[in-house]
Symmetry: C2
Subunit: 241 residues, 2 copies
């Protein structure tokens, strides 16, 4: 009998170092909103998304590539940028054939940490590309780390819910001995039939909706398969896998 690959869930970037990333596919999860925006842009025809860690790099790289510099800090448009981190900004009319250079508070930072820890393969996931992520993980049949981006190292339930959705779909094909994964799946099963009604319980919902009115963003970010592509990281770029 062949041994199944393992699956672990890292609930915060501050816990990522506890897991062996070297032989694993790492799924970067930042539901509100980086990895939903990445899925949206690629689904709508962006040539690629370049994740960077500073606004300065986003501006410099966008000039060098003729791309669009975009991003947020603390949930709002970063100073010096004209485009933010809303998945709804990147419709096909705007983004088709373009390069998006994106910097965000949590998601792009976690991706950099996965690189620094020698991850074998890096993809990004969120509800809008749930099926693409699950299909890729099943096809690869390697160890999996579901990496929740959280909020400035704090635990975020929406990222964990997405981890739970993935686990619920693919668990038969993996060896899972991990209380984080158990909790993620149980939480997902509790609220899966109406993610959108549950959303006001999330701290991040209040940051985005009460402060910035981004209710349409929330709805998109919680809609399974609304932008079902696989963003695969290679040599500094996220492209359709």
């Amino acid at each position: 009998m062949q041994t199944k690959p393992t699956l672990f869930t890292s609930l915060s970037p501050a816990l990522l170092h506890l897991y062996d990333l070297k032989n694993a596919v790492v799924v970067i999860i930042d539901v509100f909103r980086a990895t939903s925006t990445i899925a949206s842009a690629l689904h709508n025809g962006a040539k690629c998304v370049i994740p960077v860690d500073t606004v300065e790099k986003a501006i410099a790289l966008s000039k060098a590539t003729g791309g669009i510099a975009a991003g947020e800090r603390d949930g709002k448009l970063a100073e010096g940028l004209l485009h933010g981190n809303s998945p709804l900004e990147y419709g096909p009319d705007f983004i088709f054939g373009q390069t998006l250079v994106l910097t965000t508070t949590n998601g792009t930072r976690l991706l950099q940490m996965a690189l620094d820890n020698d991850a074998d393969t890096i993809i990004t996931g969120s509800f809008p590309n749930l099926s693409a992520v699950c299909n890729f993980l099943l096809k690869e049949n390697k160890n999996v780390i579901l990496g929740c981006a959280g909020w400035k190292d704090r635990f975020n339930l929406e990222d964990t819910l997405f981890a739970g959705a993935v686990i619920n779909r693919i668990k038969e094909n993996f060896t899972i001995h991990c209380d984080s994964s158990l909790t993620a799946e149980q939480q997902y099963l509790l609220v899966k039939d109406d993610l959108y009604s549950f959303a006001p319980n999330l701290t991040h919902y209040h940051r985005l909706v009460d402060r910035f009115g981004l209710i349409d963003d929330i709805r998109f970010c919680l809609t399974p398969d609304a932008a079902d592509v696989l963003p695969l990281y290679k040599d500094g770029l996220l492209m359709k896998g």
Copy 2:
């Protein structure tokens, strides 16, 4: 209207630094088994429990105080010690009037971290002293950090379940905007009616039961109010508060 104090849950020692401990009561939670053992020893008449971070210190301090050196590493009796980290070892015949010098893998380390972060007040909690912990937190009416000890910085569901039990009892008296606390309470509500039947789902259960046969320890550690004292830390000692 008076503002209610805040309550946060830290799901792992690696996340404790994200919270302001200076004006807070910090509850050290290590359900399997350090904080259950501490409750048991004090409930059965121990004069005090001295938590220390190394086996060497446990031996030296026990000699200096005429106390009992005890502890575990990786779930089993630490080399050089005659007594372990089982709450059932510390019945009244053995522990009454004695000083217990205890070193453990996770719980005593987290307590040291709370000290290093200038916690205002430190207590220890586990299901056997659930009511005493809740009553103390209500009486103090200060900010609360529920600190889960986990397993070598990994998330542990049993510690989070205890955090959820506390939140479920006292939440009306606190301001709680914290996805960790929301998750902890939801998990607790899912399994509270039969914690003991749920236990085999926990990774730590397998470490303790499959490897070391400690099923009676598990049962004690999950029994609410089985040793309902308040261990309060002051000047290096845990004593009945």
